[in-house]
Point group: C2
Chain length 761, copies 2
């Protein structure tokens, strides 16, 4: 039984990975389809040197159509599908419930919506929605497993289901990040850092199993999609198939390098990232405030219209940048005619042997030319320099910023220079993307923040790198500065500045760019980004959590001085509202109506007139508002005190089953007024027996303990309330480590069994 449960946990983790792998593959496929449609239709309406109004119209109409679907899914289907979902999931994992967060409808709206959001060209990434989607899959599958599949958690543990579900939701979020970025370690660390809910190594290991399974599933599906016939001979591990990129056999070791004197430069980039991030957060807060006033969540149409408007502006800006772009000559190596027919145009179409292939699946010069050096409005032998960055999907431009030209850097400066982005394109990109990202985050469509801020940061990093390179060259030194290193470091700095995450994004950026050698510079950069950013604002996610006002408990280290200075007894509510084990329904309804407490102590101590605040009461148990409301709704455990009471259940197993059933009733119970109105007058006069539905041994904390202790308990145990002892509490014994070591506990269990069987004799 115990073993079977363990095995189920493992199986469930694998299942979450597989399902998320499939979902990620599907969403990616959708995005690819949308992009193909949009760019295909627009490009075919472009005539070099033409006016381009027609092309703009095609471009904008398709974009807005897609955005309209994304916005519609949020406005009319599920408002919780908006935004990234990371603040919501973070709040949930912190131990606060949000209604509707984990419904299947939300899953559809979120993951469907993100495909449309990204397809529409909104400045958004997929990772936040994938985190949310992963959480939904985790929570959903575990519930499914628990009930429909006949898998049940151990019965005597009243609160276990909640905790179990949270565990699987946590695993799901980890898988979500992992499949979005192809980063199994980063995904797991993301949840460790943001979820703070991995309380054991076993749990950590299950999470890792799940993230690996998820990433493996996407890799295999990608390979099957690419070439199903050669699946047996497909080498895994040789191409960089990291979520964002799939390069073929690139020369990893030659891509990223750095010098010891660059460390202070990286630190400075980190500081800039922190400042940029803080500015982003502060501006976004202003926009969010404005939005709450003029485009409230309740106003569906206006919210929907905003999404379309933002998309319209974004699409137009990108198009104008592309159309107004200066033209640059195409690098010599790719000056084959941009024909669509076939081969045989002067320069050999074959790539030279020594050069690594440019991109997985790209094999000829022409393909490279058509894909990366498009002419658009330029002449045949030139390419659109801004179009290279602005007229590609966001994730692709990020990839180009991080990697374009890297395989050529060894071949001499001339060749290399031809691959460089122009400085003005980089600056334009940096400015516009930063502005659009700040504006977009918070609209009524699924939007993630990682990819936009990585892209902005990569552009910024390239700019800094170019300056450093120029300075080094001006000294006559032969040292070659690696611009790609700067792009990666800049991306990390910007993401760190916006999110204030630490270890998980260090590893995420490393995994997703394949820059294992940069782990230390990345760490330093993010360290400074966080240190500086924290001076001027909170992270974007925490900010949005705060705006929503959820009772979120931050890291103990950031809890402020107060928790160290105050005692528990000093913060507790002044008056204690108690219930009696058996009471009139009417009284219960009154208590529920007059207070908004989430849980009530059950006691027989009279807390009426003669009772002073602070006098101890005898605690029989604790019962949550939620259970009480359900009991009232379903008339559970009510009886007429005048009549002989019917037996509610035969034995403890029946009771557990009943309790379980009560918990399974969907989350959203109506308010107490609603329920009260359904209660007949006769029912109001019945008695209700709470004894079997209360939690009999809630957490207890010493009145004189520092608040920080309660804080840590709340966080690590995922509590919602704790009871406070008097200053000099009554105790009946002490339990030590030795009592807990397995052998000794097993021994006691043996004795207990012996006692029982003796008694039964």
């Amino acid at each position: 039984d115990y073993k079977a449960e363990e095995q189920w946990r493992w199986a469930m983790s694998v299942l979450i990975g597989v399902v998320m792998g499939f979902l990620a593959f599907t969403v990616d496929g959708l995005i690819k389809k949308f992009n193909g449609w949009k760019y295909g239709a627009t490009t075919s309406s472009i005539s070099p040197g033409g006016a381009g109004f027609g092309a703009w119209l095609v471009w904008v109409i398709i974009s807005c159509l897609l955005a309209s679907v994304a916005g519609g899914l949020v406005s009319y289907v599920e408002p919780l599908a908006a935004g990234s979902g990371i603040p919501e999931l973070k709040t949930y994992l912190n131990g606060v419930h949000l209604r509707g967060l984990l419904r299947i409808k939300t899953l559809g709206a979120k993951l469907g919506g993100i495909a449309f959001s990204i397809g529409s060209g909104l400045i958004a990434g997929k990772e936040g929605p994938f985190v949310h989607g992963g959480g939904l899959v985790g929570g959903g599958l575990s519930a499914f497993g628990s009930h429909t599949l006949g898998f049940r958690t151990k019965k005597p543990s009243h609160f276990r289901n909640d905790a179990d579900k949270r565990d699987f939701v946590a695993i799901g979020t980890a898988v979500g990040v992992a499949v979005a970025f192809g980063a199994p370690i980063g995904g797991m660390l993301f949840t460790v850092e943001e979820g703070a809910s991995f309380h054991s190594t076993g749990m950590l290991w299950r999470g890792f199993l799940a993230t690996c399974t998820g990433v493996l599933t996407t890799h295999w599906l990608d390979q099957l999609d690419f070439d199903a016939m050669d699946f047996a001979g497909a080498k895994f591990g040789v191409h960089r198939d990291f979520g964002l990129f799939t390069d073929d056999e690139a020369n990893y070791s030659r891509v990223f390098w750095w010098y010891f004197w660059e460390v202070p430069i990286f630190a400075a980039i980190g500081c800039m990232g922190g400042l940029l991030g803080a500015a982003f957060v502060n501006i976004n807060v202003k926009i969010t405030m404005w939005r709450q006033r003029f485009i409230p969540v309740s106003d569906k149409y206006r919210r929907h219209a905003e999404v379309i408007f933002v998309c319209f502006v974004t699409a137009t800006v990108l198009f104008i940048m592309m159309a107004a772009s200066p033209c640059k000559p195409i690098p010599e190596a790719y000056r084959v005619a941009a024909a669509t027919d076939g081969d045989g145009n002067g320069v050999s179409d074959e790539l030279p042997g020594g050069v690594a292939k440019f991109e997985y699946g790209v094999e000829t010069r022409r393909q490279i030319r058509d894909q990366y050096f498009r002419s658009l409005f330029c002449k045949a032998d030139e390419y659109s320099s801004y179009g290279q960055l602005f007229f590609v999907p966001l994730a692709d431009s990020l990839k180009l910023l991080l990697h374009l030209g890297e395989v050529y850097e060894q071949n001499g400066t001339d060749e290399f220079e031809q691959h460089l982005f122009t400085m003005d394109a980089l600056i334009m990109y940096f400015v516009f993307m930063y502005a659009l990202m700040t504006w977009t985050y918070g609209i009524g469509a699924p939007t993630g923040l990682f990819v936009p801020s990585l892209a902005v940061g990569a552009a910024g990093g390239q700019i800094v790198g170019r300056i450093v390179r120029a300075m080094v060259m001006s000294t006559g030194s032969e040292i070659v500065v690696d611009l790609h290193t700067y792009a990666v470091v800049g991306a990390a700095a910007c993401l760190g500045g916006a999110t204030r995450m630490t270890i998980s994004i260090t590893v995420l950026v490393m995994e997703t760019t394949g820059s294992m050698q940069l782990i230390i510079p990345l760490m330093l950069t993010i360290f400074f980004a966080k240190a500086i950013g924290d001076k001027y604002s909170m992270g974007i996610y925490d900010t949005h959590i705060k705006i929503r006002g959820a009772p979120f408990l931050d890291e103990p280290e950031h809890a402020g001085v107060a928790v160290d200075k105050l005692k528990v007894a000093e913060v507790m509510a002044d008056s204690l509202v108690t219930l009696r084990p058996v009471m009139r329904v009417r009284e219960l309804v009154e208590v529920l109506t007059n207070t908004s407490h989430g849980a009530f102590p059950v006691t027989i101590t009279d807390v009426g007139e003669g009772h002073n605040a602070g006098d101890p009461i005898e605690l029989h148990g604790s019962i949550t508002r939620n259970i009480l409301l359900k009991m009232l709704t379903h008339r559970v455990s009510m009886f007429d005190p005048e009549e002989p009471r019917e037996v509610l259940y035969e034995n403890s197993e029946d009771r557990d089953a009943l309790l379980e059933k009560l918990k399974q009733i969907p989350f959203k119970s109506p308010g107490v007024e609603m329920i009260a109105s359904t209660l007949s007058r006769r029912e109001m006069e019945l008695s209700i027996d709470l004894t079997h539905f209360m939690q009999r041994h809630p957490f207890i904390v010493h009145a004189d303990a520092r608040l920080s202790r309660a804080y840590r308990l709340f966080r690590t145990m995922g509590l919602r309330h704790m009871y406070i002892t008097p200053s000099k509490p009554q105790i009946i014994g002490v339990v030590t480590r030795k009592d807990l070591v397995e052998e000794s506990a097993a021994l006691t269990l043996g004795e207990k069994a012996a006692d029982l069987s003796y008694e039964e004799l």
Copy 2:
């Protein structure tokens, strides 16, 4: 004040990293010196075709000399320096104190000893001792910072020092692993997994900062050592400088690959690793039992002699293997004369341009020949095939198993075959190293287990890979099986089977071999190694912890069924030994003499005649045996009840200072009998006042709570004892999440301050 403390924590983490980086560099340098001496002297006594007795004598004498120093440091300086140190550190981080574990003497004996152990050729690695060393540095520096440097943790927090110290010890262990393997992420995850003491993201982040700093320090020192003049132009990131290997610009992406149909094979390798590991543990337990009987720790000379004997046998076996080795022709590419003079012998000494350099710092064919294809007892154009594996330091043979020939695999089969190890060499290596590793673990010298078990596993993996390769080739398929992948997977399987660690060794192996692309196969392999291994034994570290009998609390998931079935009240001790707040010294001495409890409840409730076991008492506080012994030793807080009592201290700050001082008194306090004998008859009749020295708000747990709750609290909060409420406890209030959210806590603090100033008026 609060901020300064935070900054100190960060600075301390960096400092731990830097110090460990220096120490690692120093130890590595020592090992290199020893190896240079040993191999140099032996090789120069070898004459091809000669008898080799003289060379054996040189070899064995040098080996035993070095082993004698390593053993001597343990036997005569510090017995705790023996073995890997991981079980001890794990126990410490779990919340159990071991005397002398964290003394500076231990640091010297351990890190000095490991250099001699490895230099002597014992089958041992450096990671365990580095973990221990790191813990020592962390604990030592934090204490140093606290007291000598004038840095003090906040005063009102009575138990904070212990927790703080544990945090820094945890960071130190992480750095130890990181610098031993050049693996910053793996090191950090090691401590997360084994230490279970990273309770917050801030802590995690500090740990990561420390591991990165440590690794960076070693990289920089290595580079300075290699070529100090070119430091500014030294590219970091391009060569694989991962702890165990420093290859130059190898073609990462071409090194490791795998196919989807290999997944079940990897799983099977994992299962074999689990079985091998379980056998290793079970045999080692037998040997340890035998050792405890015949070579007890107390018998210094015998213990010392054992080390020398083991080294003698090891050295002799290795020498015989080398001397009896078959000879193989040296690969064509390296057939330059093995001259020592210089250049110009037919084949050009230059390496062909396209071929990546073989090894960092190795530039010519001759160097490669002299280093990797040594003739030893063979003819001039042949090399010693066993000598390639047996007559090199253990870490080097591991490296060859994982990497030899990898840069040539692309160049055609003939060339490649020349670089293969012979099957018989691999089998010999596998068998002998496994046997020697099992015998060596547990002797009285510092010895780590990672490198030996990785080496055994790599050999095993290569063997399996060769079989698979032969089978694939026999089908006529053109699929090329990557033997290096098998070596890495095999290494991970064997390490996983022996240690039962999971996520941390997955990442460690990935980082240390640079096989980022293999992370998923590695995970799967280790998953199966652990699953199968756990069926037949515990991990080697847990086994040794258990043999020592420390009250170690395992993962809650492995705590067994008992903790879920039992209530807290059912395991508590039957009788409660209490102290009174003010009592006679004589009585206190009696209680201490008659019981061995580690902590006592302080109460004024009379637990004499009329008191039944299980009746509640009023808890005023809790005091540890340790503090009581110190109070008695230093005659603190004693007074003559007949006379007016002198004031012990003026205010609460003085009291804190006194308490602090008491805690600083070195750990090892003498037994109560010793102390009692120093107390005069008059002193025995004095009273002693405990009120100011007890902890006033110990942890409290509900009598009816399941034992698993107490278990989790003990682990996450690092407790040693908890007090138990009655079944229906008295409470005075409830505290909820909302009360704890920063704003509300700060508000209460403000009110409190206002109240105080009002009162003061």
